[in-house]
Symmetry: C2
Subunit: 277 residues, 2 copies
């Protein structure tokens, strides 16, 4: 249940936001979403979408007006995104949009694989709690259903990404090491590195399909290994799963750039083909 938060009626402090119809939404209970949070997510989205030229200065005035807020929350949001690694702070000159080399993306995926491998090993050693087991099995079920529909539409692509995120999140959550989750979350901030960032080749759906089937099989084997308490095997499978994902990214990236592939994956715009940083 949601309701419209009342807007200040004061003439001076009025900050109606013409280009942003829905605004001041907050949940009934207590999670009063502050302007800063919305601004942060909106800005993150804009950056990942490639709204701003990479490696160039991003003036806070521009951000403020794009987001329809004053400079204060805009600046706050930029500070947050700096911590997330999307922006770089220049001493007394504001912020710059950070770019990432494809190599760095692949490295991030590799590291994510290592982190998840730790989780898999620990879970396999300590045993998988029923809740998490159910959650992972549900993911595998969802994948099976999705795979039945031959050509993936946009909605199904979204569903597949969600399923994938859910599976990987469940794995890391299941191991119960909170600091491991922070590390996982941190690495996922690199564009294209998170389990959410799957690239679909729409021009040649059979290629994507092959990758999805491989993913599905990986997931099933990983869960199987964990349930069988094969910790080393589980870790190795997870590592390989991530390795494959990294290789896919590297292979698919040129296609993206050449527009034979949908660019719905957020963050693509921030990634440079390959050369040094």
């Amino acid at each position: 249940m949601q309701k419209i938060h009342k807007v200040k009626s004061d003439a001076v402090n009025m900050r109606e936001n013409p280009e942003n119809g829905m605004q001041y939404l907050e949940t009934e209970d207590a999670a009063a979403e502050t302007q800063l949070e919305r601004a942060t997510e909106a800005l993150r989205d804009l950056i990942l979408r490639g709204t701003f030229p990479v490696d160039e200065k991003l003036p806070e005035t521009r951000v403020a007006e794009l987001l329809g807020v004053s400079r204060t929350p805009a600046r706050l949001a930029m500070a947050v995104l700096e911590q997330d690694g999307l922006l770089v702070r220049l001493p007394r000159r504001g912020f710059r949009v950070r770019s990432f080399s494809l190599d760095e993306v692949v490295e991030a995926i590799e590291v994510r694989g290592e982190v998840e491998a730790i989780a898999a090993r620990v879970v396999a050693e300590r045993g998988l709690h029923a809740d998490h087991c159910a959650r992972m099995e549900a993911c595998i079920g969802r994948a099976e259903i999705l795979l039945k529909n031959a050509p993936f539409e946009a909605a199904q692509r979204r569903d597949w990404c969600r399923m994938n995120v859910d599976f990987h999140d469940a794995l890391v959550t299941a191991c119960g090491l909170r600091p491991l989750w922070s590390a996982y979350a941190k690495v996922n901030l690199v564009p294209l590195a998170s389990p959410r960032d799957i690239m679909f080749n729409v021009a040649r759906p059979e290629l994507s399909r092959r990758q999805l089937e491989a993913t599905h099989e990986d997931h099933a084997r990983i869960l199987d290994a964990i349930q069988a308490r094969h910790s080393t095997r589980a870790a190795a499978l997870v590592r390989e799963h991530a390795y494959r994902s990294g290789e896919n990214k590297r292979r698919n990236f040129p296609d993206i750039r050449m527009r034979t592939m949908v660019i719905e994956t957020p963050g693509v715009a921030l990634v440079r083909p390959s050369p040094a940083e």
Copy 2:
């Protein structure tokens, strides 16, 4: 070379900071340290020192006056420390100082060990670059010299911590995976979890000495394994090194609380004995 940055002479905007003698220092070159950065570090220090009661609200007015800045940079600093996990944001009620269970600290050290183990394995596989090798050997040399002086004074304790940080940082740097460094840095933000956070038992120096010698030997063996390209052995040694560190923390913690040990280690004040979060 440093110089005093000029202070605004405007009467209204004056913000002399009585309790903070040195101020407005900036390096000659270009790294103009902004007020926010100083505020952030100062606040981090205050929090880690236990200036504020844990799990209680921290009003931004208090922070602002303690730091001698206005509320704007104070709030900025608090936002940064929220990202670092030291503060928790309450929806519309500002921030709260976060506390950590001893279990979580030990978990963080365990995770750090895993991350460093990855680094060790990768470095051993790919080979250790001469620069990093020299840096790590230098650390081992420094440790040997320090260990010759029997009772550790405060200065030597500081030096030892620096040496330790240097060794561990060098290891993670050497592997060359930038995203691994982020994960490492993230985990190190948990109080008492970083290689800097060594607890010395001053009441019983022979205990600390034993631990230091063990650390020294670990370092030497780790470097040896890496140089010999024994990747699995290197990883195992690193893991064990961290495990030992975690156990030491757990064992030493009660002594700290009972004041038989110096509390110069930052962050001790944020750690609860053991119960749930």
